[in-house]
């Protein structure tokens, strides 16, 4: 690194650790939320009522983590009056924790739909597609958290491409469900819940992208419109994909 003859020697400040600490806490909360998604899906998929209840119980802690993060970031803002990257990080973290809370909440919602799978259920293909969706969105959340923790803009940027993939899978699953309601009416109840589940997965992916957006903002100061082309909103049942 070439030394700028003008630049002063920069001393590490006490509150560098504070910023680090806040970021780590946010990442921990994200992992807690991610785990709720993971177990919420498993509970629904396997009809495991006990696991589902366990996921529901975790929501209390999720709320507490959210409150604590908010409190910690506000304390940082009022006591340190940060500027530039520190300010952007604090503001970004406040919004990110909301998205993390939503992610966990979506896992909770999936868990709530759990019923024992005794009777007819969705086709193995559909089930496999949904499992794949779970794998992808979980991986996306994981990548978003990694990008946050390590301060890597590249990881964050990459998520926006993967979001397209989730959109495709979502539309495909929707089509398959509609088809199967016709061919397997006995499983209608479960198939109806599957529509909700695919939608939850899509939302999880969306929130993971939002976390990435805020990470990029914190590090570079850029807002979404400065690096992503504006996408025309499309109807869910548009056949062109």
């Amino acid at each position: 690194m070439t030394e700028d003859p003008l630049s002063p020697s920069e001393a590490p400040r006490g509150y560098d650790l504070e910023v680090r600490h806040l970021t780590d806490r946010a990442a921990r909360m994200g992992e807690w939320a991610l785990q709720m998604v993971h177990d919420g899906w498993r509970a629904f998929d396997q009809g495991d009522r006990q696991l589902a209840q366990n996921v529901l119980d975790r929501n209390g802690r999720l709320d507490r983590l959210d409150d604590e993060m908010e409190h910690a970031v506000i304390a940082f803002l009022v006591l340190r009056q940060p500027a530039a990257v520190d300010l952007r990080t604090a503001a970004g973290l406040l919004k990110m924790t909301t998205h993390m809370d939503r992610i966990g909440r979506l896992g909770y919602d999936m868990g709530r739909l759990t019923t024992p799978v005794t009777g007819p259920r969705e086709s193995p293909e559909l089930r496999a597609l949904l499992q794949k969706m779970d794998d992808v969105v979980e991986s996306m959340v994981h990548q978003a958290l990694e990008g946050l923790e390590q301060g890597r803009v590249d990881l964050a940027r990459d998520l926006f491409h993967r979001d397209d993939e989730v959109d495709r899978m979502n539309r495909q699953a929707q089509r398959m469900v509609i088809g199967e309601i016709g061919t397997n009416p006995a499983a209608a109840a479960r198939l109806a819940n599957l529509v909700l589940v695919t939608r939850h997965f899509e939302r999880v992916a969306d929130n993971a992208c939002k976390i990435a957006e805020k990470t990029i903002y914190a590090i570079t100061g850029q807002r979404r419109t400065e690096y992503l082309p504006r996408q025309a909103p499309r109807l869910l049942y548009d056949e062109t994909s």
Partner: protein, 254 residues
């Protein structure tokens, strides 16, 4: 600079020296009309020297000289008569400096008495208007002939502002005007600056970044005599372009 704003003062390749020592190096800067522009930077960065070049006060020091231009509405100040320049570009100093031997009225009317010949009524009117503009009238209206030294520090500073305003300047320079004041007096002056902006162009030097953030529309960051960055205040504090700027405003040096 926003499209609707015009440039009131333009600093053009300005350098300032104390003898052989160059305190300010090649500054290029546009001051927007009827806006507040703050100049921040660590001690010794040249911000006070720069602001004193804007009203030609720097050159009154022995051995001091200036290179480059300062344009006011397109005219180079250094081509004009210095005394007349200072009537168009006023200054308020760090330590309030009312004329101790004069009354409150005497202080505010000083530029009128020494620079022009006005009838008493006209002078009274201007003094009243200036004191109101400086948010001091209510506090002194019953004792306008009292000595200026009977006022508190914050009031004295507002008196100095009123005095500067009485000279009817176009630009008001403020060199760390709140450094010697307590937080409440400081807040009053900051609020005053927000009001003064509607009629005057304000340039304020401050070592307090939060003050710049509160008060200024544009902020210039100086370091070691050079202008490092100049942006709208919000941009400079939210996402500074220069690494040096970010290091300063996040407290990594200075």
């Amino acid at each position: 600079m926003a499209a609707l704003e015009s440039t009131k003062m333009s600093v053009d390749h300005l350098s300032a020296y104390y003898g052989e020592v160059r305190a300010v190096e090649n500054i290029n800067l546009q001051i927007a009309e009827r806006q507040a522009t703050a100049i921040i930077g660590p001690s010794g960065c040249g911000k006070s020297t720069l602001i004193r070049c804007l009203n030609r006060l720097h050159e009154t020091l022995p051995g001091a000289r200036v290179e480059g231009k300062v344009l006011l509405d397109g005219e180079n100040l250094y081509d004009l008569d210095a005394t007349l320049v200072r009537r168009r570009v006023g200054m308020v100093f760090q330590k309030p400096n009312p004329f101790a031997t004069m009354s409150i009225y005497g202080n505010v009317s000083a530029p009128l008495r020494f620079n022009s010949r006005l009838p008493g009524e006209e002078m009274d009117r201007i003094v009243l208007h200036s004191l109101k503009r400086a948010a001091l009238w209510d506090e002194v209206k019953d004792r306008i002939d009292a000595p200026a030294t009977s006022l508190s520090g914050g009031q004295q500073q507002r008196l100095c502002i009123a005095r500067s305003l009485a000279a009817d300047p176009e630009v008001l320079l403020m060199d760390e005007p709140c450094s010697a004041l307590d937080p409440i007096a400081t807040a009053k002056i900051e609020e005053l600056i927000a009001q003064l902006k509607t009629d005057y162009t304000v340039v304020i030097v401050t070592h307090n970044m939060q003050q710049a953030a509160r008060v200024a529309d544009y902020t210039a960051f100086m370091y070691l005599g050079k202008l490092v960055e100049f942006s709208p205040t919000e941009d400079l504090f939210e996402r500074p372009k220069e690494h040096l700027t970010e290091a300063y405003i996040t407290g990594r040096f200075g």
